[in-house]
């Protein structure tokens, strides 16, 4: 069984929600990325979303754009990132999904990408500019390799699209909590609760919420209505502010722990 499916099965049994942390691979360095992931596991993170940087990340706000640029300046690429995943796998079984854009994957070769990622210990693929309509190849190769294909739902998705996307999505469904790009925002839109409830009509798969979620209060609000919460920019920002410091991993992990706790504490 895929580690992501396994994780949600465990969490459901415990009636818990998943805390999903995003980091850009290679920002500030792959060695730090590796340490961060291992430390995250000890600090309440259930699933790691590992960002494979792209030169033109059009679904991302300023924080992750800048982070991607820094990673690219460090000459990070798919083979080096997969090698980092392999190293993580020697010590940890935390579920890992790669989040990237379609061009690097297409250029690498869809089949080779899925196979190499699987072999390195990756459990899922998230590509924000690849809707299911264009993902026939990725879906086919992923099915063969027990790789989760995580697709997005948005506040603007029509019922017809929701029906199709929940069917194609495996591992979990990524719900974008706002119309916009990634990045910290104030508050958490209340209308998301009704939206997510409306998706349940079509699926029993886990639905996780991301985009604009950056504080413990927002995490808590999102966890009430979803099966998991994804935090990206806020963590990336912490990493950047601590880059080069001796206690970078400790500091960032402390922040991640407060987010994870906000989600696990039951009222």
């Amino acid at each position: 069984m895929n580690r992501i499916d396994q994780k949600f099965k465990e969490l459901r049994k415990k009636r818990q929600k998943a805390f999903i942390a995003f980091v850009t691979a290679g920002d500030p360095a792959l060695r730090i990325t590796e340490e961060l992931v291992l430390s995250f596991e000890r600090n309440g993170v259930d699933i790691v979303e590992l960002g494979v940087p792209f030169s033109d990340p059009l679904a991302d706000g300023a924080t992750i754009q800048a982070s991607s640029q820094r990673a690219l300046q460090n000459a990070v690429n798919i083979p080096r990132i997969l090698n980092t995943v392999k190293r993580i796998r020697q010590q940890s079984q935390i579920p890992i999904a790669l989040m990237t854009y379609y061009n690097p994957v297409y250029h690498y070769g869809e089949q080779k990408f899925v196979q190499d990622a699987k072999r390195s210990g990756v459990d899922g693929i998230i590509i924000p500019d690849l809707p299911p309509e264009e993902a026939e190849g990725i879906i086919r190769h992923s099915k063969r390799n027990d790789m989760a294909t995580i697709f997005f739902l948005a506040p603007t998705s029509t019922r017809q699209r929701v029906r199709r996307i929940v069917k194609q999505s495996t591992g979990f469904i990524y719900y974008v909590a706002l119309t916009g790009v990634t990045g910290a925002r104030k508050g958490f839109d209340r209308s998301n609760a009704a939206k997510i409830r409306s998706f349940r009509e079509f699926t029993t798969k886990p639905i996780c919420v991301g985009f604009g979620v950056s504080t413990p209060v927002q995490v808590k609000a999102a966890a009430k209505v979803a099966d998991g919460v994804i935090v990206g920019s806020a963590i990336v920002d912490r990493i950047n502010r601590n880059a080069g410091k001796r206690d970078c991993v400790t500091n960032v992990s402390g922040f991640v722990r407060t987010l994870a706790r906000a989600l696990k504490v039951r009222e």
């Binding site: 250029h107 997005f152 603007t156």
Partner: protein, 398 residues
């Protein structure tokens, strides 16, 4: 009939063979489906067509003339050159054909806010113009470097009531302006219409822009037949994203004996990596919503393009061009910065027409074509824009 066959492209998913499609975040997908429906119904809507024709004629100044460039032809010896004078249109380039069409679609969809990306500023000016005409709010994204290069157009856009937003991410040129426009679009999709300036972007943009620009070729074909009682041997146009070229080519695609040539920007030379020729040197890839040819690194990262012409300074190209390159229907060649500048001088001195730097690439290729042809041949060049905007760059180069 051959024309009918080509009219069936793209297929219902927006694919031209393996190219095209919709590679955008889910947030935009429902809107694109909606746009596709609206556009499909408007394409055959008599009232819409009348309205569009009205603005093209009364406001933009269509039809443009098909001018026989006699002194240029005499200079080239083996070519009889006709210039399709899109430079005579309101705002000074073919871009207005498309922005008038799209702004009418936006109005039909009830959108109140217009956004656009621009490189040379021609599309930005044409968009700001169309938005002012319809009384719609307008925001134009422009790379900070291009704002420097094309200051005059920035002032024009502001005067037209548009907000010009400098883009400081990445290479600070057209590619990054388009990233930023897409981010705005994802955020404000409910009330905002994105007027894309070329036959690029996700489906249905490549086909929609092509259809709005196809008036260039339809007119030229009719005008040429009246003058010469036959069809031209060659069509020639510059290709950045490729909208003026596609606009000229489209009506002739089924005319097997009409040879078509698209001219990309070779910048400082194809061997230097400082060019904007994804058809000559790129790979198949995905950028800004569609699969086409792109300039990229060995890791699939998009490379920064270079051209003296800001409007060609883009690492991608419209998917239909990638398709015609693959099928061989259109031949794609390239011309360096230096040769383009020589082309600009040639047309200025021989005909009293200062072309845009983009257009100068097509002019420059005429000299090579003149040496290639075995007998005297006729050619229509799309004179896509006028060169006033480029005087700053030209002065620096000469």
């Amino acid at each position: 009939m051959e024309v009918q066959f080509h009219m069936t492209l793209p297929d219902k998913n927006g694919h031209f063979g393996e190219f095209g499609g919709k590679f955008v975040p889910e947030t935009l997908m429902a809107m694109l489906e909606d746009l596709e429906k609206v556009f499909t119904s408007l394409r055959s809507d008599a009232k819409f067509k009348r309205e569009f024709r009205y603005y093209l004629t009364e406001y933009a100044g269509r039809p443009t003339s098909l001018y026989l460039a006699e002194r240029l032809s005499a200079h080239l010896k083996t070519l009889k050159v006709y210039l399709k004078r899109e430079d005579l249109l309101h705002t000074g380039a073919h871009k207005i054909n498309n922005t008038l069409g799209q702004v009418l679609v936006a109005r039909k969809m009830g959108k109140t806010r217009i956004i656009a990306e621009t490189g040379a500023g021609q599309h930005g000016v044409a968009t700001a113009t169309a938005a002012a005409l319809m009384g719609l709010e307008c925001v134009v994204y422009m790379g900070a470097e291009d704002i420097q290069r094309q200051a005059l157009n920035v002032d024009r856009m502001r005067l037209l009531g548009a907000q010009v937003v400098p883009v400081t991410s990445g290479s600070q040129t057209l590619k990054d302006a388009m990233n930023e426009a897409i981010r705005d679009w994802v955020t404000n999709v409910r009330h905002t219409f994105y007027i894309i300036g070329s036959v690029a972007g996700p489906h249905p943009y490549p086909v929609m822009v092509r259809d709005f620009q196809a008036v260039i070729g339809r007119e030229a074909r009719r005008q040429f037949r009246t003058k010469e009682r036959r069809l031209p041997d060659y069509l020639l146009a510059c290709v950045g994203g490729g909208s003026n070229a596609m606009g000229l080519f489209h009506a002739f695609i089924g005319d097997k004996n009409v040879k078509m040539i698209g001219v990309e920007a070779a910048g400082r030379g194809l061997q230097t990596h400082q060019h904007a020729a994804p058809l000559a040197k790129g790979d198949i890839g995905v950028l800004h919503g569609s699969k086409s040819r792109v300039l990229e690194t060995k890791d699939g990262q998009i490379e920064v393009a270079h051209s003296i012409a800001a409007g060609l300074d883009y690492p991608g190209v419209g998917p239909e061009h990638a398709y015609y390159k693959k099928t061989g229907r259109v031949e794609y060649v390239s011309v360096t910065d230096k040769a383009a500048m020589a082309g600009l001088k040639l047309l200025s001195e021989s005909e009293g027409i200062i072309p845009a730097l983009e257009t100068a690439h097509a002019i420059a290729y005429l000299q090579k074509l003149a040496r290639r042809v075995r007998r005297t041949s006729t050619v229509i060049v799309c004179l896509s824009g006028r060169g006033d905007k480029d005087m700053g760059m030209i002065k620096k180069f000469l």
